[in-house]
């Protein structure tokens, strides 16, 4: 047995590194990296001033503002609702629990266009929810608020699925100790559970935020897409392309790509932090 493991040590026994590595890298290069490089090159093809000018456009800046604010607000709501769902799903046993647990993945599986028209119909002034909010003076559909609602739908599962495993693995003895020392439920939650769950919660929040920045399908139906008011950044790319302004579209795409890179690094750091805790 010892001999076998000693023989198995040099990993060269397993063939296929060359073939699998070639397939992986060439596919990535041809289908992902090269196209992205072509976008960056196109954005700079008329020089840096043209690149900056394309981004400094008032309508583009307004779109960035709306997109970031909506994604941020939606991520906060997703974090609160997601924490609640994760808590209830891991801590309590009640009829329908597994059903709700499965339903949390719905936004991952439901095509974004379907979510988009469904949310629009729900929150339109004559819709099931919109009609209830209308007398209160709250208009959701075709306003920036609608963008937020769509992004909450999209972001929710990220938070739940990030926090759930942490709450499941939380050792009971710390809570027990706190309880024996006379801590109230609220104190236990704030002092024992939240510190343990915080890294995962922040990771989920950031993932929901990052996803919200690039989301398109579920947003454009409910947003109303009014220039300067409720236009999201991905929509501006589409508009620029429709006008054959390839450089402008590429500049916005490149800016979004840079934001994605930053978010990716932040999420990686957060996950490492959460894993270390």
């Amino acid at each position: 047995m010892a001999q076998a493991s000693a023989l198995g040590r040099p990993r060269r026994v397993i063939p296929g590194l060359g073939l699998s590595f070639t397939i992986t890298t060439s596919t990535l290069a041809a289908l992902v990296l090269l196209p992205l490089a072509a976008m960056v090159a196109m954005s700079l093809s008329k020089g840096l001033p043209a690149f900056v000018a394309a981004l400094a456009d008032r309508r583009v800046l307004a779109a960035f503002r709306v997109t970031i604010l909506a994604a941020l607000g939606a991520a906060v709501v997703s974090a609160v609702c997601g924490m609640l769902l994760a808590w209830v799903l891991t801590r309590y046993r009640f009829p329908g629990r597994r059903f709700i647990d499965a339903a949390v993945d719905l936004p991952f599986a439901l095509p974004t266009a379907v979510a988009g028209i469904a949310l629009t119909a729900l929150y339109a002034p004559n819709g099931w929810i919109g009609a209830l909010l209308e007398p209160l003076g709250i208009t959701v559909a075709f306003t920036p608020l609608g963008i937020g609602v769509a992004l909450v739908f999209v972001g929710l599962p990220f938070v739940v699925r990030a926090v759930q495993p942490i709450l499941e693995d939380l050792p009971a003895d710390e809570e027990e100790a706190a309880r024996l020392l006379g801590a109230t439920r609220t104190q236990i939650f704030l002092r024992v559970i939240m510190p343990a769950a915080a890294p995962a919660l922040i990771t989920g929040f950031t993932m929901a935020f990052a996803r919200g920045l690039g989301e398109y399908g579920s947003v454009i139906f409910i947003a109303g897409n009014k220039p300067m008011l409720s236009e999201i950044v991905p929509l501006l790319i589409v508009i620029q392309l429709d006008q054959y302004n390839y450089v402008g579209a590429a500049a916005i795409g490149t800016a979004m790509l840079m934001v994605s890179f930053v978010m990716l690094m932040v999420i990686n750091r957060l996950q490492a932090w959460a894993a270390a805790r």
Binding site: A4, L28, L31, W87, L89, P111, A113, A210, Y216, G217
Partner: protein, 284 residues
């Protein structure tokens, strides 16, 4: 003291418990249940006949056919890529391995609109290769190849993501044993690796397929929305909705929603299968 304390706290807990469960159910109902319910209700708002008529409309049938074709092409590429990526990352150590892992995940963190945009910038009329393609009468953008390329961009990580953690966890011992007994590389892959990863592979294919069929942003940019020719089902939903053909839009949407539910159901079943599978294996 404890006898007095415990029941008091328990009743206190029961109230908080009920409140929290009630809140969570309400949140799930409003955020997840209602959007799904309204799709079905709106689709059948004018009865089953209108529903069927919307689904058997020629443009819709063309959209369904195109969607199936695009999904098939993308899933094949995603699967081959995913297996190759998992094989080289989970079975070998090499420099740049973690970088490769990051790049594999990249399409997940990029907006789907960018997945479509890059195709237009490469292959569109004013794109980098536009003049060349036009001279040789090759159409990529606003045609099937562009739609497939955009969809592949978006779905590429799905199979790799399911396989890599599993294959890393399983380790290479069984494969090494097969190889040392004289099996060839392909035999080892087909007889040892494939049976070990079959559930994760199916899950990956399932998720990639669902995403490919439902992809909207990426495809919307490259499709050109040519009815009966380059419209996939999600685009058909958009066109019908913007035409105020609400019931028809929701009818097509209901088919996509069914696809999502079936995908979720199958995913759960596969997870349970692979759980019992590993539990059975563990004692031996």
């Amino acid at each position: 003291m404890t006898a007095a304390g415990v029941p008091a706290r328990r009743s206190d807990g029961a109230l908080a418990r009920r409140l929290l469960i009630g809140l969570a159910v309400a949140v799930a109902f409003i955020l997840l249940g209602l959007p799904l319910a309204i799709v079905i209700v709106e689709a059948f708002a004018r009865g089953a006949w209108t529903y069927l008529a919307a689904l058997t409309d020629q443009d819709t049938l063309d959209a369904i056919r195109l969607t199936l074709l695009v999904a098939l092409c993308s899933v094949v590429v995603t699967t081959v890529f995913g297996v190759a990526a998992a094989w080289c990352i989970a079975r070998f150590e090499f420099r740049g391995r973690s970088l490769l892992l990051t790049v594999i995940d990249l399409p997940f963190s990029v907006s789907p609109v960018i997945a479509g945009l890059v195709q237009v910038l490469l292959f569109g009329r004013r794109g980098w290769l536009g003049p060349f393609l036009e001279a040789h009468d090759i159409r990529i953008v606003f045609a099937l190849p562009g739609i497939v390329l955009a969809t592949v961009f978006v779905t590429l990580p799905f199979v790799a993501r399911e396989l890599i953690p599993l294959m890393q966890e399983q380790g290479a011992e069984e494969e090494e044993a097969a190889l040392s007994l004289g099996a060839s590389g392909w035999q080892t892959f087909l007889r040892v690796t494939l049976p070990n990863i079959r559930f994760a592979l199916l899950t990956g294919v399932l998720l990639a397929n669902a995403r490919a069929m439902g992809e909207f942003g990426a495809v919307s940019v490259v499709s050109g929305h040519i009815r009966g020719a380059t419209n996939t089902m999600p685009l058909q939903v958009e066109i019908l909705f913007n035409d105020y053909q609400i019931e028809a839009a929701f009818a097509v949407a209901s088919v996509l929603a069914m696809l999502a539910l079936v995908t979720l159901g199958l995913k759960l079943a596969l997870e349970r299968k692979s759980d019992t599978h590993t539990h059975e294996e563990r004692p031996t």
